[in-house]
Structures are given as C-alpha cells and as structure tokens.
Symmetry: C2
Subunit: 440 residues, 2 copies
C-alpha cells in the first residue's frame, strides 16, 4: 500500500478527541477508501500532561508547539479544531502557504477573514476544507460548492444554532419565557455558561456569512450580516405566533435580490415566525436544518445534528478523506469561487414581512389611523384582525387587540412604520413585533 | 479563456430540454464556475424534424446517430438522458472506454449493471457521475460518496418515488382506496399511463440498489433488492396506521447487519408504517427524502423534489460542472468504491417489525392461542390491544379486534407467524399486516 498520509491535529477537546477515536476505530475502512493509511504525526495541545482517559493514542504524539508541528516535513494535512481568530489564522496561513492541506471547523475565522485563508491556499496550491464549520455533521457545504453548481440559488434559510433552537423549542412547548428556557438549556448542557455567542446570534451570523459566500459566489463576512438574537423574544411573541399557526425560529437568511445596482444579496440573522407547514418548523431541539431554494432544483432541505463531538468529527473526517485523496492523486479541489462579487445590501433594504400585534383604544377611527401609518410608509397590509383586548368576548373595557401582517416591504419602511405606531396616542402598547418568513 | 468543454446530449425529452434551457440561461455563470464555456456538440434524438417549440438551440445540432456523435473527436462529455438498459449501456461503455466522461440519470441501467459502467470508466480513465439517478434534484449521492466517507453508515431509509408518495399521501388525507388515489394521481400527471414501474416498486428498487452500493461500499444490483409495491395497501391499512399514530410510506431501506457470516447488508423496498414524529412522516405529495443514520454523524435527512424536468436537469448540470472541471484540471473523480463487498442478506433474514390486525372470535383462550403462535416462531410481542370488533362498545357480536405489534425479528419468522395465524379457526380474518419502521 502507498505510504501513509500524515495528519497534524491542532486541539484535542471534544471534537479533537472524537476525531482521534474515529481515526482509530475506522482505520481499516479509511485506508481502503483513501488508498493509503492515515497516521497522526502529532497533536498540538495546551498541556501535554492532562489526563485524557482512554484516548487510543500514543502520549508521545502530544506537543505544545503547534507551529513546530505544522512545519514538520512529515506533515501532509493540518486539522484545526482550536477555534477563534488568532493564533489559528497564523497557523493555518503558515500551513497553506507551505502547501499543506487544511481541514478546519473554525466558523469564526472563516466568517471574519476567510479571504486570507483562501488566498493562502491559492498561493500554496493547497486544499482548504471546512464542512464542519456550518451545521456540524450535515453534508451541506459540499452540495452548495459542487452539486448545485449547475443551478442558481435564490435563497438559503437555515436553523444553524442548536442552542437557540433548543431554547425556542422549549418556549414553544411550555410557554416559558426566555430566561427560564435558557436556564433549562444550561442545566441540560445545551447552552454554555456564557451563552452570548449563541443567544445574541453571533454564532449563526458567522455561519450565515459562510453559507452566503458559497451560495452566491461572493465574499461575505460576519460584518456584512445583520444580526439580532433571541433575548428579546417573549412568551407573548410565542403565543402570537401560535395564534397565527406559526412557530418562532432563529433563522439565518441569505437572499438574492435586484435593485438599481443590479443583483445584490442580503444576509441576516433574526428570530422570525414561520408557518407550521414549513419544513423548517418541525426542526426541534438542538437539530439544525438548512432550506435551499434554487431556480431549477426547487426546494431542498438538509437536516441533522449541528453540534457535538461525534457529529462534528464525522464532518472533519469526511474532509480529511477528501484532501487525503486529492493529495494522493496530486490534485486540488476547486478553489474559492467569488466571481459573482454581488453587493451586500444593508438590512434596511432587505425585503421582509412583519407581524405586528397592537393594544389600541377601542373607538371609531382607530383602524383608519393605524392603516394610514402603513400607507404613509408604502407598506401593504396582507391581513388585519381586530378584537376585544384579552381575546375574550368581554375584553378589557375600552381597549382592543389589533393584529396586522404585512406583505413584503423594505425592512427600513417596516421599522419606521412600527416606530410611528408606537408614537400614536391611540396605540396603548406594541405587544409584539416579529418578522414573518417562509410564507407563500 | 480556455477552449470550451463540449457536450454530447443523448435524448431531448423533458429532462434533456431543461438541460438545454439551463445551459443557455446560465451560460455565463457556468463558464465562470468551470473556467471554460460549455458548448453543445450535438444532441442525439429519435426524430430530427420534431417541433421543439422555442428551445434555444441550433436545429443543426440534432442528429439521429448517437454512436457517431459519441465518437466525434470534439466531444468531451456525454450526457445520457434516454433511460433503459440498451442501447444506453452500449453507448456509455463506448464513451467511457474512449476516455469521455459520462453524466447519466439512468437509474435502471446503474442498478442492473452499474459494474459494467464502472469498469469501463476505470478502463478509459473517465468520470462516471449519476447524481440525477436517485432523488432528482436532491444532492445525495455526492454526500454519500464523499462527505460521509469519514464515517460509517448503518442505515439508509428513503422515500425515493414521488408517484407512490403522492398516492399514499392522498389515501392518508382522504381515506380513499388505492385504485381511487391512483386515478387522481394519473389525472394530475403524477402517475404515468402504465404506472407499473412506480406502484410495483421497481423504480424505488433501482434507487435502493444505487444507494446501498454507495452507502456500504458494496456492489448491490436491483436483483438483490426485495421488492413489494403499494398495490395491496388498503384503506383499512391506512386507518390502522392512523390509529397507531403512524402513516404509511413506500420505503427503501438499506441496513447493515451482522450474522454468522460477519457483516451483511439487507436492501428492501416495501410499504411500512412510520410514526408521525419521524422526519420522513411529513414528506408529502411527490417530494422525496432520504434519512441516513451514521455512526458518528447521527441522523441526517436530505429532502427535495425527486422528479420533474428542471430538478433533474439541475442535478445533471451539477455533475456536468464537476466533470468539466475535472477535465480541465486533468484529473478524475474517485472511482467506484466497492472494497467492503458485504454479503447481501435475503429478505427472510432482514430484521423487521410487524403490525398485525386480526378479527378473532371473542371467547376464552383466544389470546393465549394467538400468543402461542408468536412464541412458537420466537417472535416477541411489543404491544397488544384487544377490543370488541368494529371498535364501538357494542361491537359485532361474538367477534373481537386484536392488534399486535411485534419487536424486531427475522422477516421469515414474522411471515410464518402470519401464515399460521391465518390457519387458526379462531382467527376470522387478518385485517391488516404492515411492517413498522422508524420506531424507537
């Protein structure tokens, strides 16, 4: 058999340990699929002496010198599972420029500065694979990069953060508020001690940038992504969504559009109501799913586990097999495709729909006044429902509930409409404002 | 720019026309993604003179001589959209041996004799791609071939035939019988005039063979697949499924197992009850979906349109882009992976579960007699429910309904159990027998 393909593993936490385990357990199959065995050349960690239980690996392979490991002549492929921007970027640039293929799960780095990595890969003639960076085990980036290359993607809508999906699923199931559901998620290990990256949408925004870049052949960074988390989602919002036959999900959305500048793309992360009949609505707990709408292919959905050691390790190893095969064949994968270079449209210009639930004074002229606000901002109303406040036939005296769902309009016009509604004295309070996605 | 990659299209029906249209509409994007323009060298059809509406193609490109077209020096890639075993096989073998890459949607040929095509591809050093052969537009084969190569697939469960899924969805929604639902499907264009290939499961069995080959690195042909269609599914079966919180789907199942001969695989197509909570249960109408269970990745699902001109053309073009890129890079995709060469287990040894609904005499000792039959065949009972016949409190005199759901057991033991139950004089009739899949 051919001489082995040798891996430098950077990091040996949850994912790294599972990669080591799978390399051990599947070694015979992996060698057969690649045409050469895989060997671990070294594992860079913070502390060599740490107890790693029964990890099936020679302790002599551990090192605290990642750069030294990367530079070794007998290292063919660098597998990065450390995360964060630096020092990961410097390490990977070093590896790629030296012609060593890189497999990474580092979504933050790819979203912040993927261009530097892609450029280094082109310079060194090396492969850069990162299937594990988005939606864990779900084979998603390769289909976007390759299978759909004969088609034209119009929109990608994803649930790409398991923590927030768990929290929203719990709020939907029990009627709990955000704080209570977060507490449950933390107790069960679905949320980290500091949940900011998840609940404020940073994690989803990084993934949105990566997905948008691939889907639209355009460089999109995390800074281009409009981001809203789920901390402001209330039990009242969840109840409003239910009343509409909907559920609330934290969505990442990348959509193609056209304006005076020609084709553009908008990329955003925010909570939104989607109809229960939408395939994404039934994606519960910590699962991820990405819904793709393409010109010819129509609607596609990819579903699976978005996080966790073993699922992420599966995606990492799939990439390792691919780069090892490329290496043996003396070829490289197609490099970054950013030829379309579409302008990224600001959130204000993104076309969205709003569901607005108002507590208004119950007297003549109120509906006309409210409708007038929408009209002034050129926002078209799709449905309106008015009833006594509190929902029952008796209601709360002289108040009324008014629920308006709009047609699509620029987000800035919708936001301005809500702002003006808040200022009307006949509007006692704005009970809930939510974007609506996935409708007909 | 590099000189064009030239395509020979075989067939210009629904899919072929949509491929021609997409090649025309997306030509600029395709050229950018490939690094060279795509050009149609010729289109082999039965009748050159046929009216093809406004198809954006030079009529001089049509020819009735497919072999002549394939052999031309200026043809780089052959795209086959004719279907059937011969003459498609001879044409593709000719092309592959001559080193021309092949993209095909021909599931029947791949399932009957994929080995001949793979061997010809290896001989000629050519690419053989067939994403469109299973589940239309859903990027599925590439993930199985590549993304999950670092993992170990244990089971693939798919809804891969849109016609039967439409019929079963209609039966479930309206309570109609098979004949009535088939009539509706035919009227709406979801079923062909001769629906045999769909309703008898031949189409699904071909796809099952292709999926099993890729998932288990083993050559599996259509002849290895146990096949049952949906013509025997009754309105009573659908009602039984509903009463269990289930729905009936025509499933293709490829599962890894272990017996005295070591690892084996069983591949089968048959209707089965699945719980409404299973991700496949909500795949309605003519949609397809494939559910994959892998060792590390866990549960994955791929969902989308399984048929139709444009979706299939999208998959064909995705493959065309891949082989065109390989051609320009002077490389070839990984060839067939059949190293595992697992034994295919006969249906009688496949592990399944049965749901059996009996109409029995309502007298002492009946349950003991029935339970004894299961015990004699070493079949363990999971749940049993007995009530007055007809379901109401009054019932139908001295009859009773008895519903038994088993644990998993070899299919032959389950079938023998049903056979013996039919022979008991206390069993008035066997109202419904269905396999159960997707349970805990």
């Amino acid at each position: 058999m051919t001489s082995p393909v040798r891996l430098a593993l950077l990091g040996c936490g949850t994912v790294g340990s599972d990669v080591v385990r799978l390399l051990h357990e599947q070694s015979v199959d992996l060698a057969a699929r690649i045409g050469a065995p895989l060997e671990i050349a070294g594992i860079a960690v913070r502390r060599v002496g740490r107890d790693r239980g029964d990890l099936p690996v020679d302790p002599a392979l551990f090192t605290t010198d990642p750069l030294g490991l990367i530079k070794r002549d007998d290292v063919d492929v660098v597998v990065e599972m450390v995360g964060g921007i630096e020092p990961a970027r410097s390490w990977l640039v070093e590896a790629l420029r030296a012609g060593k293929s890189v497999v990474t799960a580092n979504k933050a780095l790819l979203a912040e500065d993927g261009a530097t990595l892609h450029d280094a890969a082109a310079e060194g003639g090396a492969d850069l694979y990162y299937e594990a960076s988005v939606a864990g085990a779900i084979p998603l980036l390769r289909p976007l990069r390759e299978s759909l290359h004969g088609d034209r993607i119009n929109r990608v809508t994803g649930i790409v953060n398991g923590t927030t999906n768990f929290i929203l699923s719990a709020m939907d199931a029990t009627g709990a508020g955000f704080a209570e559901a977060l507490e449950e998620a933390t107790e069960l290990g679905y949320a980290e001690a500091d949940p900011t990256a998840d609940v404020e949408g940073f994690d989803a925004a990084a993934k949105a940038a990566i997905l948008a870049s691939l889907a639209f052949h355009t460089r999109v960074t995390a800074a281009d992504v409009h981001r809203e988390g789920i901390t402001e989602v209330t039990a009242a919002d969840v109840a409003s969504a239910k009343a509409m036959g909907c559920t609330i999900k934290l969505l990442c959305i990348a959509a193609r559009g056209t304006d005076g500048r020609g084709e553009t793309v908008s990329v955003r992360v925010h909570p939104a109501m989607i109809p229960l009949s939408h395939p994404l609505a039934s994606v519960g707990d910590a699962f991820n799913a990405v819904f793709v709408e393409a010109e010819a292919a129509g609607q596609l959905m990819f579903y699976g586990r978005g996080a966790g050691g073993a699922p992420t390790a599966s995606a990492v190893l799939g990439d390792v097999v691919a780069v090892a095969r490329n290496r043996l064949a003396g070829v490289h994968a197609a490099s970054e495709s950013a030829y379309a270079d579409l302008a990224v449209r600001p959130m204000g210009e993104a076309l969205t729909r709003y569901h607005i639930s108002l507590d208004v004074a119950d007297r003549p002229g109120v509906l006309a006044a409210v409708a007038g606000v929408f009209a002034r901002h050129d926002v078209s109303i799709a449905t309106v429902r008015q009833g006594p406040a509190g929902g029952g036939p008796a209601g709360r005296g002289d108040d009324a509930d008014l629920v308006v769902v709009t047609h699509v309009a620029p987000d800035a016009a919708l936001a301005a409409t809500v702002g003006e509604l808040r200022g009307l004295d006949i509007v006692r309070s704005v009970a809930s404002v939510l974007r609506v996605e996935g409708g007909a």
